[in-house]
Amino acid sequence: MGRTVVTGIGVVAPSGIGAEQHWSCTLRGELRVSPIERFDATRYGTTLAGQVPDFRPEDFVDDRLQVQTDRWTWLALAQARLALDDAGYDPTTVDPYQTAVILGSGSGGNEFGQREIGALWNRGPRSVTPYQSIAWFYAASTGQLSIRHGTKGPSGVIVSDAAGGLDSLGHARRVIRRGTPTVLAGGAEAPLSPYALACQVTTGRLTRAPDPRDGYKPFDVRANGYAPGEGGAVLVLEDAEAAARRGSPAYGEVAGYAATHDAHHHQRPAPDARQYARAMCLAIADAGLTPDDVDLVVADGAGSPDLDRLEAQAIHRTFGERAAWVPVTAPQGLLGRLCSGGAPLNVATALLAIRDGLAPPTGNLDNPDPAHRLDLVRGTPRRMPVHVVLVVARGHGGFNSAVVVRRHSEGEDRP
């Protein structure tokens, strides 16, 4: 089957706007989790989050469209624009059916939805804006991206909580293999509105620490829950031959993908990590590789002691003895967990690690929990050849997804 490569990266995340801002923040290990600024969060139990600094929606979305859409869609529109610019690809210059949009979607247009429910219950049905019908539902961003960029290909919206961003890449690959050469895939999340935060705290998985340095600390002995965050990444995925025909360089290949479900309990993860490990193994096998070929693991890093332990267990199941020395990182410790936006951002990070031969450090990690027996990248970036990266993600309820990205040799796919 044809290969799928990534030719464009569009990041809007707490680490910055654009892939290079994200990458330099990640390499510097600059903590971007901070007290929530957009509303008074003191009564929610969780006051920390990863917020996109200096995001000006007007740079990407005109006034008229801003009124019709949620912040979640603004972030996605910005990511898509950056990704297309990066790829040097403009869907409006080719057959409109040659491009599709497939996004992971976690919770939809939260701020917009809350405002309209409030309007309905305070002032009655007539006070609900007509845009409610198109702004909050889970397909809103995908639809808007398709309209903005004139794409008529087989678009999709995949929801599997925080695993959904990887599942969108998996589905994009299915679509590319069926003959649509280019897909915008990935996702954004905007969960930092009052009602959405109230929903998130009910899981008991969020940090309650007031100081960002004490908050989200994946794999640390002091792991105590995560900070939510906004943003994510949209990637341009292309059939490798089509990209080569365009003369477009590729960051790397989406070489393997797999997903499993714990099917254990609607809120608690399976205690044996068997299915999580199976997703990792299947993705590596799907890439035609073995665990020995993996140079770096970008972990889910949920930041709770039990979930971190299960992830370490899954890595041990997958890599056997090598688990103790395959480098593992979770740079999102700097940014918070971005639900369906988080994993595509980690894929972007993995591709940049391949490009520069640098493994970025785990975010906000002071004292790795020795019980995990993992070689966590800490402190400063580790210079090393990076050819193959395993990126994994879990979603609330038991979703496990894994993607393998691999260095792409130019010329391999010249027609």
Partner: protein
């Protein structure tokens, strides 16, 4: 290119207005009766559209525990009941194929009803946001993320394969089945529990369609309010429900000697890249989806024996869709019967796509095409054979079901009678 594996439907469960299991559902469709009525789930007096197709659904009588009812939004309750029926119907012991069983479910609006109810609780009926966060249920995150639907089904059937919710608005249910078909085709699973569920008869959902006048205002005539393709149509009637299908690789079904309702012959979707709610009258993108599905099935347009329409009953949709069918099927469009079951069971947003696929499977099984209820007067822009009012006996070898939704999504799926060929290969 390696040959793709073929897939078929081996189990069906339905919770729909007027029929909360598959037999009652099919009986309603073939009777031509309508299940639309004045809304009883809340007081609709302040709303422009006060009609819906509601399910007479008793979750405990249908087999759910009191704890499940307490924990889960109505849309997931529908899905669980429909899934129990579908899995039992398939005769599969899913524990034997756990790692190879996927869950791929559609929903357009997820647990909005629950989210609204809880909002009302924590805000003193909207008067003051967050009176006390502790008033909220501890399952609030499960309501925030519609992925809970896939989780609940995976847990219920111990399905360890890929799990996801497809949420492409009003084509979610059709797209979920189409993606299930792709998961089988690509060898990612042998069995997929698929389908869709939605329970959007709530104040916020009704208000949001009121605001754009997409729903009917024919409040004095609930039974006649959903009038797809009729000259007097004035908007859709909100519905609710779920259909769950067990989709299986034909080879897997044959090995265990399972009955196959229908083979999934082809699926495709496109976007109109035009407008979030508006449709260009020419129907070009829906036609492109139909043509692509026919290409996958390697079928000529004349092979289609029945078209199950999206037929929502809005002015623009029915015109758009009629044009799309003419564009893709050519002269055959005038000969092939085309009906909308939304005339009877309303438009349950994401769920309806799967409910319609179930209807197509039954049409193939029974050789009966359901009618378009309430069709009385011809619209010059809608001049096809819409099977008015009465079901029609007709051998159905190939059924085409189409969907169209906000965001510009256009989808088409083809189901075929499982012939000897379907049993012989795989």
């Amino acid at each position: 290119v390696t040959a793709r594996r073929r897939s078929g439907i081996t189990g069906i469960g339905v919770v729909a207005p007027g029929g909360t299991n598959r037999k009652e559902f099919w009986r309603l469709l073939t009777s031509g009766r309508t299940a639309t009525r004045r809304i009883s789930l809340f007081d609709p007096s302040a709303f422009r559209s006060q009609i819906a197709a509601e399910c007479d659904f008793d979750p405990v009588a249908a087999g759910l525990t009191v704890r499940e009812v307490h924990r889960l939004d109505r849309f997931i309750q529908f899905a669980l009941v429909a899934a129990d029926e579908a899995v039992e119907d398939s005769g599969l012991d899913l524990d034997l194929v756990a790692d190879r069983t996927a869950v791929c479910m559609g929903s357009a609006v997820g647990a909005t009803t629950r989210l609204e109810d809880e909002y009302v609780l924590v805000s003193d009926r909207g008067r003051e946001w967050l009176v006390d966060p502790r008033y909220a249920t501890s399952f609030l995150y499960d309501a925030l993320v519609p992925s809970s639907l896939a989780t609940e089904l995976a847990c219920r059937f111990h399905a360890h394969g890929p799990a996801m919710v497809v949420s492409t608005g009003c084509t979610s249910g059709l797209d979920a089945v189409g993606q299930a078909h792709q998961l089988i085709a690509d060898g990612e699973a042998d069995v997929v529990v698929t389908g869709a569920a939605d329970a959007p008869i709530s104040p916020i959902s009704m208000a949001c369609f009121d605001a754009i006048r997409a729903t009917t205002a024919r409040n004095d005539d609930p039974g006649g309010a959903s009038r797809p393709f009729d000259a007097g149509r004035d908007g859709f009637v909100m519905g609710e429900g779920a259909a769950v299908l067990v989709v299986e690789s034909l080879e897997h079904a044959r090995r265990r000697g399972a009955e196959v309702y229908a083979e999934i012959l082809g699926y495709a979707n496109r976007c109109n890249a035009y407008h979030m709610t508006g449709l260009r009258p020419d129907g070009v993108e829906m036609a492109a989806a139909i043509t692509a599905a026919l290409d996958e099935a390697r079928l000529d347009p004349t092979a289609v024996s029945y078209v199950n329409a999206h037929g929502s009953g809005t002015r623009q949709n029915d015109r758009h869709e009629t044009a799309a069918v003419k564009l893709s099927l050519g002269e055959h469009a005038y000969r092939v019967p085309m009906s909308s079951i939304k005339s009877m069971v309303g438009h349950s947003l994401g769920a309806i796509g799967s409910i319609e696929v179930a209807a197509c499977a039954f049409a193939i099984e029974h050789g009966v095409v359901p009618p378009t209820a309430n069709w009385e007067r011809r619209d010059p822009d809608c001049d096809l054979d819409y099977v008015p009012k009465t079901a029609r006996e007709l051998p159905v070898d190939v059924a085409l079901s189409v969907g169209s939704g906000f965001g510009g999504f256009q989808s088409a799926i083809l189901l075929g009678r499982p012939g000897p060929a379907a049993r012989g290969e795989g």
